[in-house]
Symmetry: C2
Amino acid sequence: MDTKKPQQYFREHKNDFLSKLKELVAIPSISADVEHADDVLSSAEAVATSLRSIGLDNVKLLSADGGKPAVYGEWLKAGSDRPTVLLYAHHDVQPTGEREKWHSEPFEATERDGRLYGRGAADDKGGLMMHLAALASYLESGEQLPVNVKCLFEGEEEIGSPTLGAILEGNRELLQADVMILSDTENFAVGIPGITTQLRGLVYCSVLVAALEKPVHSGGWGGILPDAALGLSKLLAKLTTDDGLIAIPGIYDEVRLLPEEEKQAIRELPHDVEAMKRHAGLLADVEFCGRDGCAPGELIWHQPHLSVNAIQASSRKQVSNIIVDEAWAQVGVRIVPDMSPERSLKLLVDFLREEAPKGFRVTITPHGSVPWWRTDTTHRAFRAAERALERGYGVKPVYMGCGGSIGFVEPFEKVLKAPALLIGVEDPETAAHSWNESLHLADWEKGVSSMIELYAELAE
Amino acid sequence: MDTKKPQQYFREHKNDFLSKLKELVAIPSISADVEHADDVLSSAEAVATSLRSIGLDNVKLLSADGGKPAVYGEWLKAGSDRPTVLLYAHHDVQPTGEREKWHSEPFEATERDGRLYGRGAADDKGGLMMHLAALASYLESGEQLPVNVKCLFEGEEEIGSPTLGAILEGNRELLQADVMILSDTENFAVGIPGITTQLRGLVYCSVLVAALEKPVHSGGWGGILPDAALGLSKLLAKLTTDDGLIAIPGIYDEVRLLPEEEKQAIRELPHDVEAMKRHAGLLADVEFCGRDGCAPGELIWHQPHLSVNAIQASSRKQVSNIIVDEAWAQVGVRIVPDMSPERSLKLLVDFLREEAPKGFRVTITPHGSVPWWRTDTTHRAFRAAERALERGYGVKPVYMGCGGSIGFVEPFEKVLKAPALLIGVEDPETAAHSWNESLHLADWEKGVSSMIELYAELAE
């Protein structure tokens, strides 16, 4: 399959696609904020218009159960002997967080030092525009698009894809494909493409330790009242060992042991530890927590991890000499193959219940779970992706994990039963979900170029 | 000394004094709020006007170092063979807290079920009006006031009396007296008067455990980053034993052992434990923390106590799946005779430093200390107070401690070197500093009646 014409078309028109991306970024499609419901709809309509304009057919909005609209479009003229590829991205974005922390307007995409800054510039309007640009480069260059294509660009990924399962179930035939390309993940580093084959899951709950109807004066009462802040601290302190291992008995029982060659492969990845420290924002006098012989990738991708996401008892702003009435925390455990989400959540909740300090009213509220996901890479689509990414980036891609949990991958695999290629355009400096989110423009171009190659590779 | 005429005058005019109290409550003299600076001045002027109107001389506002005004007034015509009594109360008040929790307007004193509700109705405009009513009942009934009197009604007690020491130092001769009556403490129970002879002190500090410049995604980073929320929890958990004793080595070394007869005397006080639970707002399924053979008074008045007044890492409102950048807490220790504030604060700070979790940036900030206070009761003024209170209330007064810390008592004793009678009009249901503060009206009348007796007793 010849990709010269679409590649050339893209080189000549990349600024047009970037302009379109900037237009998309200008729509504050924050799915978590009811006040931006109209913007989510506007961004869906803008995406639909773009899909129509590059020649896709049957473009329409799909939604289910009152959820936010996904955009569908297809091009099925490659012939029935060619595979059908389903492209996924999402057009909704995170809230901006503190506006004053942004160096430029979040909804005014701004180029600086080879990056495009703006909310959604990378996550995931950048991913969406990668597909759109690659498709357009075929359809508008006169070269035949070598595969049949279906696009599903979701509108509620940032709130956990609550109705995506229903959309997939309700449109099973419409969406059926031979292979899926899901673009919402990270590359290993700037210039080094990644294919994500494993995601951690998540179970989490909150715990409330209470003793009083209201805070009281610590002088007047200190000595006979239970101290909920201390009670909660003692409970949380039991959750991990001083080495940072989870101290819940049995929690590691189901963890799949990583074969030595896989550990070795992760150790050999070009982890740039100093750059990672910068991206994590580690304070100057603080170090990573390591374990002997474990590369960061092994700890983040393949080991479970417990974190206390928030604690509050009274507040820093309103502190006074009181005995607090109650103390609250949220605890989350990232889970890995082969940990059962149900069992993991139960172990966490039971541990908190059993170790709960005596003499308080302790309430544990399980909040939910997301399963881990892992794919095997024997399907030939992975070989196609390896070749395409190497051609687009000039270096071999890295098979990698992702420490976070992405809710949408499992429903796709379950309903559509096709191999899933997780290929994204974010890099470790992207700061998705944080302030000053940005897209690395050279990597984005390499991503589009790779997709042009990948459509061709998948057709072989 | 005959108190019949002033007692009768008070009985006949008590509603006039209550009206004056209501007028004072209507002035929102919140010393902590700069926006109410004018109101603090207005309340000082209103108090000065009242003092003048009942016949006090040399009435003026005293202030130092730009602090809030205290009101001074004197009546020195009893003769040089009669003692001089210095009366202390304060005219500033606490902020209201959440307005919607009040059942009536905080600055509109409202009678309900034998109590007067309003901010400052008890703490301490009620105490101030007790003195004013007792003095007026002498001066306006035609009966000779049996002692020389000086009044000092402070305007910044609720912010820790920052310039009171300077006012006292600067007016040492003006304020010199043979005995002081400081009215800002509690009675033991409704109908049972108290003479407070001991106050706990306080030392406190904050602790900040930090690792990151900003919070980061717990999926993306969980496994290699230190968790400040867990680090802080582990540190706080070490501060006390599971029995609620302070676990800082050496902290109990200086605690004065209570003689068995004093312990026994406290056990014999009519502690109404069920009522105390109600006042503390204990949840239905929660109990007091006790120790074998210790009455609540022993634990609250005579034992040190550590509390964690607030913890915050992220917040309950903004929780998300992050690793927090930092976690913060304030820790306070109430100290008792003979604990040195400096040593106690150093032990607390050193313990937090030494036990600080490794791998974080830990900052301990000492915030200050208030010494404990204890008086001996051999001075004949205490016998006078016993007799006067028994006559006013119809029952013998209770010698009691106070678990809280009152900053103004020490400077008074140090500068004026006179015995200090701590006698107040609050009762355990008063809810000073909280919403729905109230004055028990029958106890307030008994308080005024006791003061009329006390001035006479002190003259004997």
